[in-house]
Amino acid sequence: MEKFLNHTGVGAPLRRSNVDTDQIIPAVWLKKVTRDGFEEGLFSAWRSDPSFVLNQDAYKNATVLVAGPDFGTGSSREHAVWALQNYGFKVVISPRFGDIFRGNSGKAGLLAAQVDDKVVQRLWDYLDTNPGATITVDLESRTVKAGDGVDAIEDSFTIDDYTRWRLLEGLDDVGITLSHEDDIVTYEKSRPSFKPATL
């Protein structure tokens, strides 16, 4: 996994709440057995609507998605994270994320930055009046910034310490755990015999 320190990119305002992972990528797109090529299915139901944010020229190259609360609820499909990444997104900003989606993002290297409701509202307004403007997200200082001068937006975002550290270091989870294999072996020795086995 690549290290994630900070990112500056075009922000796209997704003025919707409760964007579940079925909206991010519908089930018909989940039949692939690879991790790439999911960008085509991203928000597929909305992509045919010319007024949809990602269909507007200004947001074509967006890399920072600014969404309403409860983004990524529902199905556990990590394909939702891959679809966002395959499309080019590096960061999703929302006041509240679905638990599994947030976990998946951390594992796959997409930054899920949780901010206050008001910050999302201000970013939306800013992006609407300045289409194509960029947002800077700094993982080290946990800050999100946009605009200049008196109207500049600067606020902090939350992300748990452990996920932040792993993203900053670009660490592979399985590798970290296997470095504690002794603990797993010790635990296994103490498991009761009545626990079920499949084989």
Partner: protein, 473 residues
């Protein structure tokens, strides 16, 4: 201070805990299926790793598989590739698989309990959010993403931050005609789709104790729909009776040892929950959704709400979007809504009890002229059991379709899909836009409401069927 049930199970599974890091939890059972596993097996191959405990892993084919023409190869090539990939991976890594055509094939959350693999006090994960179903046995069970599937395959463990603890106390008795599904749908509407976020929820109280295992599974299944990490119910005699004699349940001295342990799986009297919600089961009536998330529901006797009645901006906009998508007018009585397709099945309501209830209500009636009812058992064994009891004949006589086992129209990955604008009453768990097919409109309902709706052609409950019988008599 005492511990909650979930804290006890959690603490017993901690392999490693370290200040500032999530706990490393041991996983007792890892269930897998074709959709969320291919990239995980690929990851193992690339890193030259093996499956650490194939003996704690079980695979089944469910999401993609057709429910008709079961003797033919899967027609959809991409679906077929995914299923074949699972078969190859299970072969290569030594994982037990129940493929199409196998007697133990079915929806992963129906198969685990049915085999007796799901037991109290376990940690159970699966690359599927409805893994919460297994919490009905008093275990911590939750859905994970594909990276985590790979992690569990390689290490049989998972790093997890300990969630907060919530109790849902269900007092009183469910009235006749109200079901576990109505209870959980009501709860989700009350608490919204984000209300359980960050919590493991223990469902407690007299009304819960009186529920059968299958009804408890319906409740725990939908924990994820209000955002909870997991939902669980303390094991009791009902749990033991369900488990005893199942193929993977313990036997002999192991059974006694297991029961002695299971008896300890209760929340201590002096344990403290971070949050407690109390609901009165006696107030629950048949409940249905009108919108595009499971928190947008009303009693069946109610009307489509007016978006203007929501104070919260986001909720109001969501309601406006939902009504537009659903093609509904504010103020319309729910019972006036005509339904094209009724889907009875899924890991929420596709078990034998659900089919028994559905069959008993449909017997002697005919499916409405412009409506179809699809009955899809949750597993092959459920299908065979139903056929043994003659339920398939009752369904077919009434004009319903009797299908093979799988996820089917719950998510429309196989050919069972709604067409744009088509409206369903579905016993599944998600009414998201396009979930059952692009442009499809879903109302979540209990099996009881599903059957009454299929017979009358519009959203209706068992009480309306009784009226019909009276009028006819």
């Amino acid at each position: 201070m005492g511990k909650t049930l979930a804290e006890k199970i959690w603490d017993e599974h901690v392999v490693r805990s370290h200040e500032g890091e999530p706990d490393l939890l041991y996983i007792d059972l890892h269930l897998i299926h074709e959709v969320t596993s291919p990239q995980a097996f690929d990851g193992l191959r690339i890193a030259g790793r093996t499956v650490r405990r194939p003996d704690l892993t079980l695979a089944t084919e469910d999401h993609n598989i057709p429910t008709t023409d079961l003797d033919k190869p899967i027609a959809d090539l991409v679906s077929r590739t995914q299923v074949e990939t699972l078969r190859r991976n299970c072969g290569e890594f030594g994982v037990r698989l129940h493929p199409m055509g196998d007697i133990d094939q079915g929806i992963v959350h129906v198969v685990g309990p049915q085999l007796g693999l799901t037991q109290p006090g376990m940690t159970i994960v699966c690359g599927d959010s409805h893994t919460s179903t297994h919490g009905a046995f008093g275990s911590i069970a939750f859905g994970i993403g594909t990276s985590e599937v790979e992690h569990v395959l390689a290490t049989q463990s998972l790093s997890q931050a300990k969630p907060k603890m919530m109790a849902v106390e269900v007092v009183g008795d469910l009235p006749v005609g109200s079901t576990a599904k109505d209870l959980i749908l009501s709860l989700i509407t009350q608490e919204t789709t984000g209300g359980g976020q960050g919590y493991i929820v223990e469902y407690r109280g007299e009304a819960i104790r009186k529920l059968s295992m299958e009804a408890r599974m319906t409740i725990c299944n939908m924990s994820i729909e209000w955002g909870a990490k997991a939902g669980l119910i303390a094991p009791d005699q009902t749990t033991y009776d369900y488990l005893e004699g199942r193929p993977n349940a313990p036997t002999g001295a192991d059974w006694d040892a297991a029961v002695a342990y299971w008896d300890s799986l209760v929340t201590d009297d002096d344990a403290e929950f971070d949050k407690v919600i109390t609901i009165d089961a006696s107030t629950i009536t048949p409940f249905v959704t009108w919108g595009t998330n499971p928190g947008q529901g009303v009693p069946l006797s109610g009307n489509v709400p007016d978006p203007a009645s929501f104070e919260d901006d986001n909720e109001r906009i969501a309601a406006e979007n939902a009504l537009r998508y659903m093609g509904l007018e504010a103020g319309t009585p729910m019972k006036d809504i005509k339904v094209d397709t009724v889907f009875i099945g899924s890991c929420t309501n596709g078990r034998i009890e659900d089919l028994r209830v559905a069959a008993s209500l449909i017997e002697g009636h005919k499916v409405a002229a412009d409506t179809r009812i699809l009955v899809v058992p949750g597993s092959v064994r459920v299908r065979l059991q139903a056929e043994q009891e003659g339920l398939d004949v009752i369904f077919k006589d009434a004009g319903a379709e009797w299908r093979g086992a799988g996820c089917s129209m719950c998510l429309g990955m196989n050919p069972d899909q709604l067409t744009p604008g088509e409206r369903s009453a579905s016993t599944s768990n998600r009414n998201f836009e396009g979930r059952q097919g692009k442009g499809g409109r879903t109302h979540l309902v209990s099996p009881d409401v599903a059957v009454a709706t299929g017979i009358l052609g519009h959203l209706a409950g068992p009480a309306d069927l009784a009226e019909l019988a009276k009028a006819g008599a």
